[in-house]
Symmetry: C2
Subunit: 204 residues, 2 copies
Amino acid sequence: MANTIITIGRQFGSGGREIGKKISEKLGISFYDKELLNRAAADSGICRELFETHDENAKNTFWSSLVSTPDALGYPPTDFFAMPIHHKVFQAQFNTIRQIANEGACVIIGRCADAALADNENVLSVFIYADKDARIDRIAKKHEITVDAAKDMIKKTDKQRAAFYNYYTSKKWGDLKSYDLTLNSSVFGIDGCVDLIIESLNKR
Amino acid sequence: MANTIITIGRQFGSGGREIGKKISEKLGISFYDKELLNRAAADSGICRELFETHDENAKNTFWSSLVSTPDALGYPPTDFFAMPIHHKVFQAQFNTIRQIANEGACVIIGRCADAALADNENVLSVFIYADKDARIDRIAKKHEITVDAAKDMIKKTDKQRAAFYNYYTSKKWGDLKSYDLTLNSSVFGIDGCVDLIIESLNKR
């Protein structure tokens, strides 16, 4: 368990980030969500704003892909300078995820981390989902928006995450076959999910 | 936990049955896989062979459905005697699952038990899957058949199970949103899955 990397994919509003944060605190290990963008920006020298713009968002990727399609796990292309910018950003993030994993145990939220670390035997790949009403309620409260606005935000964000994951990996976002363990946080609660994921580390 | 019903959906060759059997032994509760067919036959008076023929198999259901489409969870239709035979068999099984759930804690393998017990708060709904090579290996050894024959058997059986589940419920077989918890038995092993499922009963 010493060097275990826990990657957490999550439906928007399912509490996946909170679960990951609590796991990292309980185990005393590093935690990367938006933190990954800062690190990738610092590592690569590409400005932070570009990581934010392209964060788990494959928007415009389709049009670029007509010119240059990434070979999912066959990264990196040989000529970094000739890459479209969203590929450069993804490549930099991909490299940072691998670097972070070499530094020791941690929790990484989203960003195709499970695919970036596909060859790493120390990875536990988790996906968190929740009942729709619970997600709407969580997002409406968190962002202080209406139920309808929360519904729109959930739909749009999950669509972006799915498109990003499906574009850059050979797997399917939110398909159980892409993960080792999936949990409904409406059933087990945030703390229940935290405990079960930590427990599962000892069962592999 | 006293009256918990654990329903286990499973990919063919994933070890779902073995996991369920071990859970029932550890917890000292009843176990229903093929046992359900005997019980449903005895309860309904319909001969056992018909339950075997239609067991998790929606074959020919499509053609019957052109005449009479079941309203998934809107069962039962009012006129039992006018039902096509596969509906009668399903209905009898559905009734038996509900009866069994009223009798106390148990493990039920497949047969849309999670849908039959959708209104029961004591249900934990699990799905077990596994890496393809592990499933092929397990089935080839268990049935003493070639790798190619095992591949065919897996493909056919999972197709039947999915068609049966998707036809008789409003959910999708093997879609994580249909379950509370899903586990890859290639990652956690049979005993790891047993322990994690039992552990999860205390976290709901």
